[in-house]
Each structure stands twice: as C-alpha cells, then as structure tokens.
Symmetry: C2
Subunit: 324 residues, 2 copies
C-alpha cells in the first residue's frame, strides 16, 4: 500500500520522464511545460489509489493516471485561453508564454496524447474505460460552457449551479476513480460505487473551495480572499444568500453586486457580513457534509477491507474538519 | 456496390439525422452548423468504399465514417480560429458567428464526439482502429503546426513541404481507408495496402490543388486563381521554382516575393510566367503522377477483384487527366 505523498512522487517521476520527442517542437514543448508546473496530482493519485483498493498493481494503472492528468491539463490550457488568464500556478500560461494559436493546437494534440495513454489498458476493459473517459470528457466541456454562460446571467438557480460543478469538477474525479477501479480488477458494480464516492467527494471539494474563498486563511489558501465576491461569481454561498435575503437585505446585496464604485475591501467585508448574518457558512458546511456522508456511504458498500480503503475514508473525512 | 454520389447521400442523411440534444445548446449548435455546411464528404466516402471493397456492409462502417467527418470538421473549426478565417464554404465560420471561446470549446467536444463514434466498432478491431485514429489525429495537428511555422520562414525545403502535406492532408485520407478496410473485414496487410493507396492519393490531391491554384479554370476551381502566389505560400510550385531559378530569374523571383508594392494581378502574371519559363507545371504533374502510380500499385496488390476496386482505380486515374 502506498501513501498519497508516495503516489504523488511516482506520478511526478513518470511525468518528468515522459519526453515528447515528436516534432514540431512548438507543439510538444507546451505540453511538458504545463505538465511539469506541478500541483497536487489529485486525479492521477485517485486513479492509482482506486486500482490499489481492489488489489491491483499501481504500475498497471500508471498510464491511465498520466492520461487523466494530460486530459485535465489540456482543459486547463484551453480554459486559460478562454478566461484570458495570464498566470497558472504563478507561471505564465501557455497562451501568454507562446501564443493563443499554440495553446489551441498544443491542447488539441495533448488531448490525443491523453487518449493514447488511456488506450493502453487491457483489452478486456478497453471499451468500458473509453466509454467512461469519453463521457467524462464531454461532461467537463459541458460544465465549462455552463460556467461561462453563468457569468453573463443575473440569476442562476442552485440546481443549475450544482449540475455545473458536478460536470466541471466532480465527474472527472469520479471517472478517474472508476477507471482506476476497473484496472485494479473491480467489477462493474464495485467500480460504480467508487464513481459515486468520487462524484460526491468532488462536489464536497468544490463547496469547500467556495467556503475557503471567503473564510479561508489567506496564507494557507494561497489565493486572494474574497476573489469570488469581487468577481460576483455565482457560488453556493452567493446563490444561497440571494435565496434567503429578505427585503432590505436583498436590496443591499443587490446594491453591492451591481454597484461599480465600491472599494474592493469594503465590498468583500460587506458581503461577508451579509453571509454571516444569514448563516450561509453553516448552510454550505452542512451541504458539504451531506456530500461527504454520501461519499462515505458508497465507499462503505465496497466489499473490500484494506489500508487503502481506510486511507480513502480518512481522506474524505478531512473535509468534515471545520476551520473555526 | 454503391456509387460515390449514393455514398455522399447516405452520409449527408446520417449527418442531418444526428441530433445533439445535450446541453448547453451553445456547445452543440456549432457542431451541427459546421457539419451541415456540406462539402464533398471525401473522407467518410472513402471509409465506406474501403469497407465495401472487402465485402463489408457499409452500415457497419457508417459510425466510423461520421466519426472521421466529425474529426475533420473539428480541425477545420480550430484551424479557422488560428487562420482568422471569416468564411467557410461561403458561410460565417463558427468563431465569427458565435465567438472564439465557443469555437475552441465546441471543437473540443466535437473531438470527443468523434472518438465516441470511432469506439462503436466491434471489439476485435477496437484497439487497431483507435491506434490508427489517434496516430492520424496527432499527424494532422503536427502538419497544421508545420504549416503555420512555414508561413514565418523564408526557406522551406521540398522534403519538409512533402512531410507537411503528408501529415496535414494525406494521413487522414489514408487512415480513413485503413479503418474502413478493417471494418470491412480486411486483415492487417490488406488494410495497410489501402493505407498506402490513400496516402499517395492524398499527396497527389494536394499537388493537384497547388497546380489548380495557378493553372485552374476559375469557374471550376471555385477559388481566386493565384491565391497561393499572392500569399507567398510555399507550395510545390514555388519551392521547385526557387530551387531551379538561376541568376536573374532567382533575383526576379525574390523581387516579386519580397516586394510589397506590386499590383496583385501583375504579381500573379509575373510569377506564373516564371513558372512557365522553368517548366514548373510539368514537374508538378510528373510528381503527381508518381504518387498516383504508387497509389495504383498498392491498390493492385490488394487481393480482391470487384466493382469497388475498379471504382477506386478510376477515381485515382482521374488525377492523371491533365487540363491542357
């Protein structure tokens, strides 16, 4: 059994050793660049853990793990163009460092490379793995489009929001785990349970992200606190606040959202106070807990007992530790 | 046995019947729009013909044929962004009609849809088909990047040019035929022969395109004659002319290429005269003939005799009919 840091190391080593020697170099250099920017490698770690959960050798799952990470980074490369983002993990984004055209085409070829890695699974699970991967890939694109659409809309319902974060974030975690499970030897029913675990975990993670944006320790969080508030991002918190705010509160919230001459700090402070008044943090934490409980329930139904299962269980439970 | 117009009709019908009902609509509407702009459907026609050549039922090859056409149109959607093209088949391009972001993301999801269609082949050939499709997809991206690189370079060698058109154009025709052959029941050796036929045919087609740009009948060709000359495009003709032009001719050619104050018509006339003087058209036609002969040689080695083989033979031979 491997720990998460051990798996991260294995993945980072595999990524560093993957050399894209094909030409033209302009097409492949951005792939190595983006892949080597680092990160927590959560998705490929989950592929390996899922294989190990069912007694599979993680070496058999490594190609698929890299394939998932390639796919994830391909979406980042294209998303960064769409979002006009200058930086990714503190370094210039691919379109900023090279050009938009390079980021488009290099992303496309990266997507092919992702499929090439996924295809390396054994014949007996090839079709299942590709079905999951393709379904997942469509969902991520759908989620990204929905997210962009929401930016232009005044009102987004909670159902729409939850559907969007499911597609954009949760499905890929879920698919990573289902694929890892199949490689590890799980049957369809068991691997579906792990999909369910991953999906609910992904939803909980996204809600945690929404909460941390407002209530996180800026040192630990690594981002500007209140970024979502300043961007009027329709998060779980804002959507809930809009639903709950009555009369003057509703008017005040609208004033902060639609006003253009507020000092940034003042706006973050005011909306955070409104969230506090309405008890939004507690509601978000409760919803997060619902997802974590669902995830744990699915994990519990999986018919293996080993250290990896305990690790996944603990991993999910860390989301229940509330920062006071 | 089906004729080419019959196969085109079958493909157009299948495309018209494919409804992308998934949401968000913004993501899927551009796919239908681009797919329904029409065209000769050469690639999917070749998939179906290749299946039929080996006695396969074209209905079994239809999904893969649509998959190839989806992939081809995905590359057009992204190429049009990169080339800043306002029109495609006389209609607004996707990025012009919607937005760049939509064209990026809709293209990405179109690529997933292409893989989804390819995955529908039978288990026994699934891995082979996906290997060919992924190889082909990488090659097309590589060719597009090389083509963009060439625009910024003063000198491109003939070897580099031929490699680029092979990747950008020929490999997809070849891959379409190899996949069709496998679906039709061909073994690996027979399907490789058809790949060779397709690749050489693709190279011949591209050279024909280069020739027609200068010497084509504007009515039949449907494009502005001399477009490549005005854009200083490094075609087979220009590269050959640069290789052959001596002393004053070389200076004159360079003057026309690097000058910026020429009348367009004058430039087209002058470079065409230079091509005539150097016998470039004949050289290009000879090279085209070499490719067609190679294609026919590969086809001849395929161990079936039927009407479809005769049709493919005739199809290739039309490239030998020279417009005087």
């Amino acid at each position: 059994m491997h720990s998460i840091p051990q798996l991260q190391e294995i993945i980072n080593k595999a990524i560093a050793e993957t050399k894209y020697t094909e030409s033209p170099a302009e097409l492949y250099a951005p792939i190595s660049y983006l892949m080597e920017l680092g990160g927590k490698r959560m998705r490929p770690v989950l592929v390996l853990l899922s294989a190990e959960l069912f007694g599979g050798d993680i070496r058999k799952a490594l190609d698929a793990a890299i394939g998932i990470e390639l796919f994830h980074n391909f979406t980042l490369m294209h998303d960064d163009i769409m979002d006009k983002a200058p930086l990714r993990r503190g370094k210039p984004t691919v379109h900023a460092k090279w050009s938009k055209n390079t980021a488009i085409l290099s992303g496309d070829v990266m997507f092919v490379e992702a499929y090439k890695m996924m295809i390396r699974v054994e014949d007996v699970i090839l079709r299942q793995v590709l079905d999951i991967f393709s379904y997942t890939a469509s969902a991520v694109c759908q989620g990204q489009q929905a997210d962009m659409n929401f930016e232009k809309r005044a009102d987004v319902s909670m159902d729409e929001y939850l559907q969007m974060i499911k597609q954009k974030t949760a499905v890929l975690l879920a698919g990573s785990m289902e694929i890892g499970a199949l490689i590890g030897g799980a049957d369809k029913h068991q691997s579906k349970l792990l999909y369910e675990f991953g999906e609910n975990l992904g939803l909980a993670f996204q809600l945690q992200d929404d909460i941390l944006d407002v209530y996180g320790d800026p040192e630990k969080f690594g981002k500007q606190v209140g970024g979502d508030i300043l961007a009027n991002k329709k998060t779980f918190l804002l959507i809930t606040a809009k639903e709950l705010a009555q009369k003057e509160d509703h008017t005040e919230l609208a004033r902060w959202i639609h006003g253009t001459d507020h000092e940034p700090e003042e706006k973050v402070k005011a909306i955070t106070s409104m969230y506090d008044k309405l008890g939004i943090r507690k509601l978000a934490e409760n919803q997060m807990e619902v997802y974590v409980r669902k995830a744990l329930g699915a994990l519990d139904m999986i018919s293996v007992q080993n250290d990896t299962k305990a690790l996944l269980n603990d991993f999910a439970k860390t989301l229940l530790l509330r920062e006071k």
